[in-house]
Each structure stands twice: as structure tokens, then as C-alpha cells.
Symmetry: C2
Subunit: 263 residues, 2 copies
């Protein structure tokens, strides 16, 4: 399998989708709610996923697709080549802010991440990685993350996990917030992951993410030395929803051991 | 006083500063801590403030300047023409992310906001307002904020105010977080204000801000119908540090009455 050629194909497909999304702001958006009123989808999410599915299937029908909007295949194993796709990560930001949303794509073969993409559509900023060959931002190589202390860290965390909740001991989250230099929250897992892999944040954690939220970012993380896991310290399960942590390697274990206690 | 000409002067000065800041990333940054390790300043903050002070004093020495880094005047009243300047709001973001920081400038005469500027340096996006003439983003007019419910709101709030603290009843903040559609935190008051005045966030609150954090944004808020106050519902005190709330007019009172209880 020629990863270089698949990479070129993926980059072109992603840039084309970005152009379409940017042009879409001049049209009327159709917004629907999904599981609850905080979970929304637009016609553009669906159109972009369908565009990716068509492109990938036309190129090689044997490639399987796991997409947020369900236009791909019914995936029960990661055997063979599988694309994991979020056409718009941060749909609320897309609708309300017209910024701060990303296309996230991962390409896996037999469960191993080979290619990863995080594309900030409005910044026109592409972060991508080819397994074993490194990660790049706008085609410049991203250097490995530099070590730092937990006191120096700026972490991405949503306020929902800092208040009493049924997933995690929030008292330890309070200790974490007092310990670190600062916290941020952007409303897009892919955006927060893109900031961690470029050293702009030092960690990001969430109690519930889907494969398409992290599939692209996990391949990039590997190439820059960022550590990913679920909140038990095990590999994130790409076949279902799971908890998630990505961190600078010098603080990943400290976060897990001292501040994260699942209920 | 010809506000149109002062506006042209200010815009040119701000764009020049932006060019200088963008070019500064190729040089070594000198970082110092101020009051504590979370409060930092760089040589660029100081150089940019000095640049603004020089420009303003050369144009009209009678104009007073209240600046974050103290290069301006010792301001004890807002009588006469006063510039309120933050050369880089979001210095931690500036240092660590090379993005998500803004230049914030307000021009006041006898305490009344006449001109306001929020310049996202890396996006090269300027938001400004001329009192009575409206607010503009990249020279396109910003429309008045549309009403919405508290359940539909996305608000900017730092996690520090959601955990037990000595400023505010955090239990009510927990209720607020459960009530709204989402929360965000960007690490720059000027950035959060810029998102509120353009309808990308619906409110932002902080327990402690300085005049230069809000002086520019308050003039813009007035022109788009966003309501600003301190957390007691009184006008923000531009001569000292104060609590701060900016919100869509349809939720400002609800936030104050139902969710904000100062200690």
C-alpha cells in the first residue's frame, strides 16, 4: 500500500471539502438536533461526509468508512483499510461562530493508524501525519513535544467535568484546575487535539468521545510524541464511545495517577 | 473633535503594531512573570505599548493614556481624552499558542466611550466601533445581536469560577453550566468579548478584569446592543479592577438575577 499516494489523495479531498464548507456560509443552513438539543447536525455535515464516502469508494471500493453521520459502512471490526471520518467536528461552533471547527480524518489498516488529518477549515491550516514519517503543519515538520511540569501546563477541559457529574470524581478535577497554569475550552475535540499535538495546549481530556472525534488526531499524536489513552490508561476503543486523554508525555501519567478517578 | 480622523489614525497604528507582532515570532521572546506565575509579560507587550504611547503623544500630547504595562500616564480620572490600551490581551496565548491574543484599545472623552478596537492579530481581523455610528468587522457593519433564551446560550467562563472560590457562589455557576447549551474558555478577555459582540458567544463573565481588558470592547458592545456591567449590575469601573459581565441583552438580567451571587 502506497501511503504517499493515499496521502496526496486525502489532502486533495480535504481541501476540496474545505472550499465547499467556506462557500456554504452564503447559503441557508438546515440545522437538526440529534440525541439532545446540544447535539446538532446540519445539511453540510451530511453533504461533506457523503462527498468523502463517494471519493473514497470511487478510488477503492474495498476501503471501509466509519463516519459520524453514518453514510459509510456498518463497522464492527477494524480489519483491513478503514477511514474514520468526522466531516465537521465542532458543529455548534460551525453554526454559531463560523470558525473553530475541523475536518478530522484517520486512515487505519488492521487497526493501526497510518494517516491522520486535522484541518481547520477557516484558518485553512492542515495538520497531518504519515506513520513513521512524522507530522506536519502546513507542510512544515512539527517537532516533538518538549517536556514540562504539571504546574506549567495549560489544559483543555470542559466545565461539565469540573462540576458534580456521574462519570468522574470532580473533586480531583478541582485540584487539577488549581494546580495547572490555565485551562481552555474550545467546543471541538479535534481543535483541542490539534492544539495539543502542536504544543499549544499540554493536555485535553473528555469523558465521552466517538471514534471520529479522535481517529485522525491519534495518528498525529503518535508522530509528535503526545500520549493518548482512555481515562483508565488503556488504548482508546475505536469501535465505540470511550473516555479520552491526550497529553504531553511528561504529564500523561501524572494526570492519570493523581487527578483522574472514574466513578 | 473629529472622531473619523482619530479612527483612521487608530486603525493605522493598530495594523502597524500587528505587523510588528507577527514578525516578532522569528525573534527570541523575553518572558517575565508579574504578580504571580500565571501573570506574564514579554518584551513585545512593552514594545507595542511604547509604540502606541509614542504615536498618540506625538499626534496630540493632551491625550492621556492608561496602559496595561504602565508606559502611559498615571490616570486618576477619566476627564478629557483618554486612551485605554492593552497591547497584547492573552499574553499566555501569545507566548504558547502564537494565536488567540488581541490588541484592545478604547478611546474615551470625559468617561464616555467614543472609539473601540479589538484586533485579532493572527487572524488579521479588526472589530471596531464609532460611538453612534455602529460597529464593524473588517469594515462590514455588525448587525445588532438577536434575542435568544438562556438554554440556547453559549457562554464564556473560566473553570476557576466554577470551582469553590472566594469571589462568587460557585453552586450557582454549576446551575448555570447545566442550564446553557455550552461553555467556552479562550484565555483572553478581549477575545471572548470580541466573540460576544459578533454573536459567536452570548455572554462572558469574569471575577476580576482591568480597564484595559474591557475598555475597547465596551464601546463596541454599546453599538451592537450587548449589555456590559460589573457583576453587581453597575457600570464597570474603568479606574480600577472590577468584576465584569457582557451579554446578549435578552439574557443579561437573567444571568445577574438567577446565577450570579457575589460573596
Amino acid at each position: 500500500m502506497d501511503l504517499g499516494r493515499i496521502n496526496e489523495f486525502a489532502l486533495e479531498m480535504i481541501f476540496d471539502a474545505g472550499k465547499y464548507i467556506r462557500a456554504s456560509f452564503s447559503q441557508e443552513l438546515i440545522i437538526e438536533t440529534k440525541s439532545d438539543f446540544k447535539d446538532i447536525v446540519t445539511n453540510i455535515d451530511r453533504e461533506i461526509e457523503q462527498f468523502f464516502v463517494n471519493k473514497i469508494k470511487m478510488r477503492d471500493p474495498s476501503h471501509k468508512i466509519l463516519g459520524e453521520e453514518g453514510m459509510g459502512d456498518n463497522i464492527v471490526t477494524l480489519d483491513g483499510p478503514v477511514w474514520i471520518i468526522d466531516p465537521i467536528d465542532g458543529t455548534m461552533n460551525f453554526v454559531k461562530q463560523h470558525r473553530h471547527f475541523l475536518i478530522s480524518i484517520g486512515f487505519y489498516v488492521d487497526g493501526e493508524g497510518k494517516l491522520g488529518y486535522l484541518y481547520d477549515v477557516m484558518r485553512n491550516e492542515i495538520i497531518y501525519a504519515i506513520r513513521g514519517e512524522g507530522a506536519f503543519i502546513d507542510h512544515r515538520r512539527i517537532r516533538k513535544l518538549m517536556p514540562l511540569t504539571i504546574e506549567e501546563a495549560v489544559i483543555g477541559i470542559n466545565a461539565s467535568w469540573v462540576i458534580p457529574n456521574d462519570k468522574i470524581n470532580h473533586e480531583k478535577m478541582i485540584q487539577l484546575i488549581k494546580k495547572v497554569r490555565g485551562t481552555r475550552s474550545y467546543g471541538s475535540a479535534a481543535m483541542e487535539i490539534s492544539l495539543v499535538v502542536t504544543g499549544k495546549l499540554d493536555a485535553y481530556l473528555s469523558m465521552r468521545l466517538a471514534p471520529w472525534d479522535v481517529g485522525g488526531g491519534m495518528v498525529i499524536a503518535e508522530e509528535v510524541g503526545a500520549v493518548t489513552s482512555n481515562l483508565k490508561g488503556k488504548p482508546f476503543n475505536l469501535l465505540t464511545h470511550d473516555t479520552f486523554l491526550i497529553a504531553n508525555p511528561s504529564i500523561h501519567k501524572i494526570l492519570l495517577d493523581q487527578f483522574i478517578e472514574l466513578k
